[in-house]
Every structure is written in C-alpha cells, then in structure tokens.
Symmetry: C2
Subunit: 457 residues, 2 copies
C-alpha cells in the first residue's frame, strides 16, 4: 500500500480487537526456569503459590504450553473502555529527524492510569473477583500500576491496598490522590503495618523505600489477611500474557496496512510492556516464520540486561518472595538517587531474560539526560508529553532512525509508547532547569550487589 495512504493514527474497529491473549512461552524451545521456593530450593507448584496469588492466575503463571488463552468477556468489555489503543505513524518526528525511516508507535497512555498497566490490572482484578476474594494488595513505585489497579478494583468492587514506595508517596501526592479518587487505600512503604516493614525501618531508619521492599510488605499483608491475595504489575509470566494485547493489536494494525516492521523497540523495567509488545512478533521469530530486530532499552543507572547476571534471585528486598531465574542486579540494588526515569526494578521478566539469554533479542542502556532530550524532542514534534519510562524507547528509536539517515536505509521501526508524563513534571523541571545529571553504577558497586545473590544448586 502506498505510504501516503497510511493514516496518522491507526485505530482498529471493536470487532478487530483480539479475543485471545498470546502466551509466547508456548513457542519457546527453552522455557523460562520455574520459580523456586526460597526455603527448599524446589520448584513451586500451584499449592505453593496459592497463598500468595489468585488460583486462575497461577494456572496462567505455570502454563508454558498453551499458545492462546481466551480473554474473558468481562475483560473484553472493560478493554473497550480505553482500547483499542492507536498505532501512530510518527510523521512529524520523521520530518524533524529528516530520516528515511518509517516510525510507528503503539500508544498506551490514553487512559487515566496513564500507561499500559491497566491491561493486566483489569485481568488480575477479574480473576480475584471470580475467586470470591475481598481484595488485593500490591506495591507501586511511580504510581502507574497502583492507579491502574485501583481503577480495576473499583470496577469489580474489590478492596485495593497499595504500598507505595515512600519517596514517591511524598514526591508524587497527585498520583496518590488519583488512587484515592478510585477508592484505593495507599500506605507509604516501608511502614509500621507489616513485620517486614518494621524490620526494614529498624535496620534503615531513614530509608525512603524501594520497590523490592514495598513488594515484601504487600505480599505479607496478602498472605496474612483472610480473603486477600497479592497482585504484581510486571515481571511475572501472567503479566506478559495479559500485556500481549499490546503486541496483538499492533500486529493486526500493521497487517491491515501491509506494513512489516524491521525493528521493534520497547523500554524495559520489569518487562511488562516490552514483553507484551513483542510477544506475537517474537512468536513468529521463534517459529522461524519471520525475523525482526527486537531491542530492549533500559536505564544506564539500572542496567539489568546489559550488566546484570542471569541467575536465580529474589524479586523483593525482604526475601520472602519466590526465587526467579532472571537477569538481575541483586535484590539489594537500588538505582542512584538522581535517577528520575522509572524502570528501577533490580530484576527482569524470566521470559524475557531467557529470550535474551538465547539470543532472540538485543538490549541497550541509555543515560537519562539523553532520554529527556529525546522526550522533549518527541513532545514538541508529536504533541504527546511522554512518560520518562517510555522515553527510553523513544531515545533508541530516534537513534535507529538517525542511523537509517546516515546509511540511507528505509527501515520500519515500531516502538512502544507506554504512557504519558503528566505526573513526572518534577523530573521534567529538573531537565528544563539544566539540573539533571547521569549516574552509571561502577563495576565495584555491582560486584558487591552480585555477591549477595542467593546460592542455588
């Protein structure tokens, strides 16, 4: 199809929306390693996980053979509230860059959670409701996941307790207020409300918290409260499954216009967006039906793929969660205080870790000043003020488009624009004022963190 026939925004019709999620594990020859019980070192089965997670979500977590799983009707209905999300042709950005590359982005920010997180939040809330639970607990850092979950819980009439990393709780009162508006209760973490929180506070009285620590608290409350389970917005296999809706919609939209991407780019923190975006494309690659360059982009200040170890590690600071085999910087790793751009989890989705380990994808790390430079350029060209997390993908997409310009190649680039930056203006202000700095952890810092990795086998 001729290029000028491609609209600025490709919206699917409701009847073109996917009705099944795609489970990329089904097509992986080498499956991701199982979660291990930290006490016994043995793989965890349904019974081990049942005190923490909802039953049907455990089935999804453990299922590495079923390629397609039906999306329940009620979830499809909720998806229609804010999906399909647009696949946008970045005509304005292309023009600004004067690149022969064709750039597309899948924009997941047109909902009040401000990101793709709602795709899995509504699924997890649905299964919790179906199981007859009273409520769920979770952690949130910047607040996108917490907001998404509060929106999903209010829809199903579930109670929602969010442990919010203390520094974000204090610096982002507005995110907290959105969650409250959707009826969630929000607790700064570490808190006195849990054993693990009290322990961490005793050991580190002035701590401003971390994601790993908030996870520990949320898990403790879920396992100790009747009728509650814990839910998580990234890293887990089930989350990647739900997020495959992003990639499936992208693929349908591209196919509709006969567009074949050469490069697919996503930012990677725990891997929820990247895993979702690339799923169907990775499936084709695994089945030998097509080839794509797939690039994960992470912050240079929290470089799990590019500088982490592929090893079993805890997902939380309190070391009460299962062990996962993943690229990790060590569960005690906390990015430098100057880091503004999200994507601060120490580990990475086991699915993506395995795929990266097996050579199916690349990874690059970028420094935050260059990320905000890309964010500003994108905002001015394409209108939308991007989330700092998403801007990592923008940075890499711009870099690839500039390479195309240099060598005169007309590649098609697709990247994931996970969300908007409306709650990240403190970071933008720092950038606008020229006060943003970069920090890359030293090898010695990482070695110190790696030394504390649990010994498995």
């Amino acid at each position: 199809m001729s290029d000028n026939k491609i609209p600025y925004k490709i919206y699917l019709e409701e009847n073109e929306m996917p009705t099944q999620w795609y489970n990329v594990r089904a097509d992986m020859k080498k499956k991701p390693e199982p979660l291990l019980n930290p006490a016994t070192g043995k793989p965890m089965g349904h019974a081990d996980l049942a005190p923490v997670f909802c039953d049907e979500l455990i089935e999804q977590e453990l299922d590495d053979v079923t390629p397609y799983i039906d999306i329940p009707e009620e979830i499809i209905r909720f998806y229609k509230m804010y999906r399909p999300s647009p696949l946008v042709r970045a005509y304005f950005l292309e023009e600004k860059l004067q690149t022969p590359a064709k750039i597309y982005y899948k924009f997941e920010g047109n909902n009040t959670s401000g990101s793709h997180k709602l795709n899995s939040a509504i699924a997890q809330a649905y299964y919790a409701k179906k199981q007859g639970l009273k409520g769920v607990t979770t952690e949130t850092g910047a607040g996108q996941w917490g907001t998404a979950l509060s929106m999903a819980c209010t829809y199903f009439g579930l109670d929602c307790k969010v442990y919010m990393v203390k520094v974000s709780y204090e610096q982002k009162p507005f995110r907290r207020e959105v969650m409250r508006t959707y009826g969630a209760s929000v607790v700064p973490s570490p808190s006195e409300t849990t054993e693990v929180g009290r322990k961490i506070l005793a050991e580190h009285p002035g701590t401003t918290g971390s994601l790993g620590c908030a996870i520990s608290e949320a898990v403790e409350v879920a396992t100790k409260t009747e009728g509650y389970r814990y839910v998580l917005g990234s890293v887990l296999n089930q989350v990647l499954l739900h997020q495959s809706i992003i990639g499936l919609e992208t693929k349908i939209a591209l196919d509709k216009y006969g567009i074949r991407p050469d490069i697919i780019i996503g930012c990677a923190g725990g891997g929820s967006n990247l895993g979702g975006l690339i799923s169907p494309f990775m499936g084709e690659k695994l089945r030998g039906e097509a080839d794509y360059r797939i690039i994960a982009v992470e912050p240079a200040s929290c470089p799990s793929f590019t500088r982490g170890k592929f090893a079993y590690d805890f997902c939380d600071t309190g070391m009460i969660c299962p062990l996962a085999k993943m690229y990790t910087l060590g569960s005690g790793f906390i990015p430098s205080a100057n880091h503004a751009g999200g994507l601060r989890f120490h580990g990475m989705s086991p699915v993506l870790s395995q795929l990266y380990h097996d050579g199916y994808m690349e990874a690059v790390s970028v420094e935050q000043t260059s990320v905000f430079e890309a964010a500003e350029m994108f905002a001015r060209a394409e209108g939308t003020l991007p989330a700092p997390e998403s801007s990592h993908a923008i940075r890499a997409a711009i870099d690839e488009a500039l390479k195309c310009k240099e060598i005169g190649e007309e590649k098609t680039i697709v990247f994931g624009l996970t969300g908007t930056g409306y709650f990240d203006l403190t970071a933008y202000a720092k950038y606008n004022d020229g006060e943003m700095t970069d920090y890359i952890p030293t090898d010695a810092e990482l070695e110190e963190s790696f030394a504390k990795l649990p010994k498995v086998e």
Copy 2:
C-alpha cells in the same frame, strides 16, 4: 440501527473529518452586537483591532455572514495529530445510573494540553505565522489554554509569552513546567513587566491575580512589542468558529449511526467548548431544521448566564480591551477563593449570550461539591478522570439522565467532556478529604459589581 451495534467509542476515519469550520453567526437572525472601542463607544473595525489581533483572525472575528470557512491544510494536518476525538457511548455510566437514557460524550482530553483548547490554539498560531509575526502573547488561568498555545507555537516556531494568573502559577507548577517543555516563557500575573501589572500591584499589593488582569498584561505586551499580537482562548467569535470542529465531528459521528440527540450539554466559562460543541446543532435549530434542548452549565460561584446582566462590559480587569455585549458579572468580579472548578471568567461569549438572550438555549448553575461528586462517579464508571470544568457538564448530564429514569423516558443526551483532571488533583484531594465547600455570591455582591458596568449609549 440497533443499539447494541453502537461501539463504545466512535472514531471517524481521517477522510471523514470536517474540512471547513462552521460559523453559527451566519444563521443567526439577530447577530451578536459588535465590539466597541472603550474610548469612543464606536464599533471596532478591522483597523481598530489590527494592533491587537492577527489580520486573518480579525476577518473571522467580524464575519457574521459566511457559514463555512475552509480549514487550512496545515491546520488539518496538525488536527490529525490528535483528532478526530472519540465520541464515547457512556455504557458504564448508564449502567451505574440505571437510566433508560442514552448518554454520549465527545472527549477532547486525549492530547497533552488536556483539553479542547488546542483546536483554536493551532489555528491562531497558524495565522500569526502566516502574517510573519515573531510571536504571540496570551493569558492563562488553570493552564490548559497556555499549554495548548505553547504546543501550537512550538510547532510553527513562534515565540510564546504566557501571563499566568499568579495563584495558578504558584499552585500549579506542573502546568507551568509543561508549557516550559514546549518552549513557552511563563510570567506570573500581575507582574512588574507591564504598566497595567505595576498599577494593579500598587493598588492591590497582595493580589493573587485574575484572568481579567492577566489579559490586560498580555494585551499590553502584544501592542507594545514589534512583531507580536495577542491571542485569546475563549469568548471571541473566532474561537467559537475554530471550536466548531468539536460539534461538526460529533454530528458526523452521530449521523453515521443514525443517532438523534434530544439534549446537548456543555460547560460554560467563556464559551469556547460549549459554543464549539453546539454550533452545527444550533445551526439546524436556527434554520428550523431540527430542535434540540441545549443546556449551558456554569458554576454557581461564577454564574454569568443565570445571574449576570446582558450588557456591554470590559473583557479584562485593566479595562484596556474592547467592550463586548455579553452576559457578565462585571469585569471586577472574582469568584470566591474556595472555587476550584475553573470556568471563572466574569463574562461570556457574545455569540452564546445573544443566543441565550433570544431563547435558543437554557442555562443551569451547579455547586462545586455536587460537581466533584459527579466527577468521582464518572471517573469510577467510565475510567477517565475528568477536569473539574468538564465535570459541570457531567453533573448536568447525570441529572438529566436521572430525570429520564424517574419519568421512564429514553432520551439521548450528548455532552462535552472537555478535558482531563490530571493537573487538578489539589482540588480532588480537597474533595477526597471532605474539605470542599460551596459558595454562592450574594445578590448584594453582584449588585455592587454590576454598579461598575460601563455606561454605553
């Protein structure tokens, strides 16, 4: 067409988008009264307005006979960045209300300015650029208009100076930061940078500013700086013309599915959204082709339609702007400090004022606690966190839907959801904490303000 065939969101295709704006004045038998020169009391022509406004915008301001005006190609291209905006069927809200009414809303918040303001900002920036100007000045209250204008100016490479009401400048640093990210310079008003600002500061040293005062400053700078003109985001005829894109898209979407609205509802501050939304429907009504109930919703704390006088008044506090015949509370009127919900301009679009005066539309006023109650209900049902301004329309739409329930009538209601509330969380926090109060100006207060209306004729 059967009801269950109507999708949750109706998106037009690019080729279905309007290519002309509609000028409702062309169909008005009684035209809005002309702007008057405050010094002479005489109607202002092109030459009088040229020092303040861009030439082609003056043509649009004064043209009350041409029904359709072509949208320039470059503006259509920019519109495609964020338009068409969706017409959403509020299935979830209908269900929550258990109403037989069918509710639709035209959602203008899916762009970084967070509102419909971008529709006119890009048009005004385009004509400024075409005229070879260096830049434009404007005022902003809550910041939506300023943000929209900074986005439009960066697109055309124009300088953008924004006078921001001081209280908003201080309480909404994030809006300010968005404007800066798009390259605008933002000055808190009243400021020492203008004569009128210095005069107001001398008379009221502790003042936190007002829209009317920021207008005075922006106009002064525009008229005194080579290569600059002043632009305004509401009230003016030209703004209503540009905003007609909202109503035109709405009508195309409704017609596509054979839907005929009974009631059309919009919030009204200066009238930009309401005027744009209702334009083509009002046109049909004026031409006797169809009948609709059209309802303007305003805050009880700033009730220009429902308690104002239909009289000539200044648009600004400094009394340097032209006089407009409109519903007004007096140019010195400032809503009570507890008012959080926007829509705080003392006057109203002359076009809408004339139409209201001639009985073509109704107006209601609502108190802010009931507005935020509606906002919360809407957010929880429909997902999107609405702007306080938009929530005035939500309140009225819910009230009409509940009346339908009471009397068992299946009316079709369309309202304008002008924007999102992501920068209004201070107000939401107040509501969540149960600390929001209402204030209705007393008759005595209004009489005092009316007494200062200029004597015309």
